[in-house]
Amino acid sequence: MEAIEGKRAEPRNKPPFPVYEGLWGKPTALNNVETFANVPQLLVNGNDWYKSQGVNGCAGLKFVGVSGDVRKPGIYLIPMGTAMEEVIFQHGGGMEAGKRLKAFAPSGPSSGYLPASMADVHIDFKSLAAAGSMMGSAAIVVCAEGRCMLDMALNAVRFFRNESCGKCVPCRNGSQKMTDILTGWTQGKGTAADITLLEELSEAMKLASICGLGQFAHSPITSVIKHFRPEIEAHILEHRCPEGVCPMREIV
């Protein structure tokens, strides 16, 4: 909306929400392409048919994108409530031979990485929220064994740093400092105090950023610390990358 109005592409403070005051101050509906893609089916088959498509007590259909270490990455239309493992192993074709699932992000890195042990989670709003994640766009990222979860988290945090518009302090400065801290960990420069600092920074970014980008930029690393703590601690405390991915020395 800001760009259409000829301004820098920066998020607005909310409220007011766009449905009340949006483009040029007028009520504006902003929808994802996925929402529009559902409209023809609803018009052709009707509301009741659509609702009946869900499984495991859920209603409707969901587009999911499967990417990462799977043999058949792609976009699939699945019944709402389908188990994550079904999507990864059946639709996505599972891992390369001999590799096992290590982690997955249900909705891109901003939903956080969950461990393989939680792959039975159902893809619907409530189940994913209960698992500490979110449904979001359901752009599922799959990690097989051999991936370093710190490396995955750093990659995602660096991406958020690059995409930050710079409007607000927590996201502009926070995403850079978070990238600095994680980069230090991958270079064997971590200290025990870093985890506390990172937690405080995550909290500030989550609570004070203007838009979702800053609010969720911490998710990759906080989820990885929660579910893969020993692996992360090996980097910070022992200056060792268990998967042998991180350089563990300064790269000039």
Binding site: N13, E163, G166, C168, V169, A204, L207, S209
Partner: protein
């Protein structure tokens, strides 16, 4: 408008609907810390320090969050305090503490908040790539390192002042404030109103204090200044901050206000009274005559004007350019300045010596100001409009007609130009037009120096320096270069103001005045041909580029054969003897093989001597040798600028009107710049004549270098003859 009831920190409060949470708290005595919010600007909610708990999933920035009925707000919970502290710690990680503001007045808002929060140091690592400083504005210092992107300056510049110069550049961590499309502040459209300085919470934008000795006179009262048409719309706060940079001075009739050749740093604005501006140095050049055919007869130097001693290639302009809105006539260099006139702009902006002496003709009141205040005046649209208008009404005609080429323009035509020409300012280093660009304007220089250079694969070649009264841009417009494109790059060497005449008006002029066109074309063709020849010669001779460009151009050179020279200095003494005791020869200089090139002027690739002459009296002849015009005021800047010591000042005693006593004459010493004239009046230069070891020779450079390159002795008895 209905009232809203909400609870802030346990306190029940009532505010009108439409109030923000920040204001609701403020109105009830609860202060919420903030950096980006000010009462006089639209809130933007970017620093996030004012976040509060208001019942949502995340915290809300209270400055932009409207109060709602029944809302419960916590402004100081543990959660809020912890987030706020982290944000301060993030900002302090990259803050150059103490920043300029903290150092100046101890009230950097960021450092104050951090101190109140007990934050001594930041645990976050410091920024790796510095964002730097911008020192280009004379009035405002910019330290991007201290900028926290609160956007207060941007709103001050835009919504308060309606100037819209400031904005944001870059994104994410590389975002910063920018002037126009990220230009240096001093070269931007900034009018130095000072609103951004007043808005800035940190030391990112601070007022520059001019370090200098105290100006004499009463500091001008801001209220008095604001009454003057020239200071209307200038920020009072800013004038207050620069209080000591502008003083009111009263002069009695006859008082000398400034003297030619003196260094200064101020400009004067005449409030009341009249002042006389004149040159006290004789309008003449140094002429050495006599004969050295016998030892008994000494050579003598005299001052001669161009009427008595016409020199080759001397200019015949009728006026002398000075640092004021008027030029002085050559024949009688006196003019009058009155109320509303500004003089000393070049001295003030670029610290050049005064170009003329100014004496109070009646009792006078003036404002004397330093660079930052003059800059504020010139950047203010209102003032600039008046100054420009003043110039167009009073000076444009003289200025144009004083360029001999334009002497035939009719007053009617100049009248038709008045409202069409544009006065444009350029900062040091700005490119005015670039080689290869489409030519769209013609320029006449009003103030400052412009460098004309060509780009070559080996680097830049300076073709010329132009000062006041100089013009450029005609070659491209006349289509003589390469299809209507610029043949050279013209850039500002210091504070430059040019009169821009658009292509349409230029063509109107050359169509209406065929003789102007013919002269322009003739001069341009000559320049182009010279440049072509010079390049051809430089490419031709496999010498070091500097030598090729410099020495090859000389008409003749003085060389000392170091194999024969015993360093007895007879040559230097002979030179002094020939020029009233002032030697123009220094036995030092470029060495080439076993020869010392001790010649006068090297016709440098980049003739630094010509930059800054307050009266434009030093320039190159067509032959590229330096000529000093009659109106040299002896300030010595060219001698100081010459890296080779080839320009010396020759003192003369002259009789002038005694100050304060009309009719009385006094003898004072005045100086004139001189460089080696190769004793062209004589069969042989005195230094060559005096050398007892046959080590000094005057040679033709082309022959000399060619013979060296071909391996022969550079100097033979034959090449001596000249």
């Amino acid at each position: 408008m209905s009232d809203l009831h909400l609870t802030i920190d346990g306190q029940a409060v009532m505010v009108p609907s439409g109030t923000t949470v920040f204001d609701a708290a403020r109105l009830n005595g609860i202060a919420i810390p903030t950096l980006c919010h000010q009462q006089n600007e639209t809130p933007v909610g970017v620093c996030r320090l004012c976040v509060v708990e208001a019942g949502g999933r995340v915290l809300s920035a209270s400055c932009v969050r409207p109060a709602e009925e029944g809302m419960t707000v916590a402004t100081n919970s543990d959660k809020v305090r912890s987030v706020r502290r982290t944000l301060l710690e993030l900002l302090m990680a990259d803050h150059p503490s103490p920043c300029a503001r903290q150092a100046q007045s101890g009230d950097c808002e960021l450092e104050t908040l951090a101190r109140l929060d007990g934050l001594a140091s930041s645990r976050f690592s410091k920024r790796l790539s510095p964002r730097g400083q911008d020192d280009s504005s004379p009035a405002i210092a910019v330290d991007h390192e201290a900028c926290i992107l609160c956007d207060r300056c941007i709103r001050g510049c835009g919504e308060i002042r309606n100037n819209f110069v400031l904005g944001r550049r870059g994104k994410g961590f590389n975002a910063g404030i920018a002037f126009d499309l990220n230009r240096p502040m001093g070269n931007s459209a900034c009018v130095s109103c000072g609103e951004c300085v007043v808005s800035c919470p940190t030391g990112a934008l601070t007022n520059k204090f001019v370090v200098q000795t105290e100006l004499g006179g009463e500091p001008a009262e801001v209220e008095d200044l604001l009454k003057l048409p020239y200071f209307q719309n200038v920020s009072g706060t800013f004038l207050e901050l620069n209080r000591n940079a502008v003083v009111r001075r009263d002069f009695r009739a006859g008082d000398i206000i400034c003297r030619e050749g003196e260094y200064g740093s101020t400009a004067f604005y005449i409030l009341e009274g009249k002042a006389q501006v004149y040159l006290s140095t004789p309008i003449a050049h140094v002429h050495t005559d006599g004969s050295n055919s016998g030892f008994l007869r000494r050579l003598g130097s005299r001052l001669l004007g161009r009427k008595q001693d016409r020199r080759e290639d001397e200019r015949d302009r009728r006026t002398i350019p000075i640092d004021a809105s008027v030029d002085l006539p050559y024949d009688n260099p006196v003019a009058e300045l009155g109320p509303g006139d500004l003089f000393g702009e070049m001295t003030c902006m670029s610290l050049y010596p005064r170009s003329a002496t100014v004496r109070a003709a009646t009792d006078c009141t003036m404002y004397e100001m330093l660079r930052n205040v003059l800059d504020i005046m010139q950047r203010n649209k209102n003032i600039k409009g008046r100054l420009d208008d003043n110039y167009k009404r009073r000076a444009l005609e003289d200025h144009l007609k004083n360029v001999p080429l334009f002497a035939s323009l009719t007053p009617a035509f100049i009248d038709s130009l008045r409202d069409r020409v544009e006065l444009v300012r350029f900062g040091k280093g700005d490119v005015i037009c670039r080689q290869g660009d489409i030519a769209d304007s013609f320029y006449l220089i009003r103030i400052g120096f412009v460098k004309v250079s060509e780009d070559h694969p080996q680097g830049e070649l300076v073709l010329n320096y132009l000062g006041r009264g100089g013009y450029f841009g005609e070659i491209g417009l006349l289509g003589m270069g390469s299809g209507g494109r610029r043949t050279a790059t013209c850039s500002a060497l210091d504070h430059v103001e040019v009169v821009r005449i658009g292509a349409e008006d230029f063509h109107r002029m050359v169509d209406a005045f065929p003789d102007v066109k013919r002269s322009l074309e003739a001069v341009a063709a000559q320049h182009l041909e010279q440049n072509r020849q010079r390049l051809a010669r430089a490419a031709d001779v496999p010498l070091d580029a500097f030598l090729a460009q410099g020495l090859m151009e000389a008409q003749s050179l003085l060389v000392l054969d170091l194999g024969k020279c015993t360093r007895c200095d007879s040559c230097v003494r002979a030179c002094a003897d020939a020029h009233d005791g002032v030697t123009r020869l220094i036995r030092e200089g470029l060495r080439f093989e076993n020869f010392l090139i001790a010649t006068s002027c090297r016709q440098c690739r980049d003739p630094l001597c010509m930059v800054g002459c307050p009266v434009g009296s030093i320039r190159r002849r067509q032959s590229l040798e330096v000529i000093i015009e009659d109106w040299c005021i002896g300030c010595g800047l060219c001698a100081k600028n010459c890296p080779y010591g080839n320009i010396t000042l020759h003192p003369f005693e002259v009789s002038v009107d005694s100050q304060g006593a009309a009719g009385h004459r006094a003898v004072v010493t005045k100086q004139k710049a001189t460089s080696c004239d190769l004793c062209t009046e004589h069969a042989e230069p005195s230094c060559v004549y005096a050398c007892p070891h046959d080590a000094a020779h005057r040679v033709d450079p082309n022959e000399f270098f060619r013979s060296i390159i071909s391996g022969q002795s550079g100097v033979s008895e034959k090449t001596d003859a000249h």
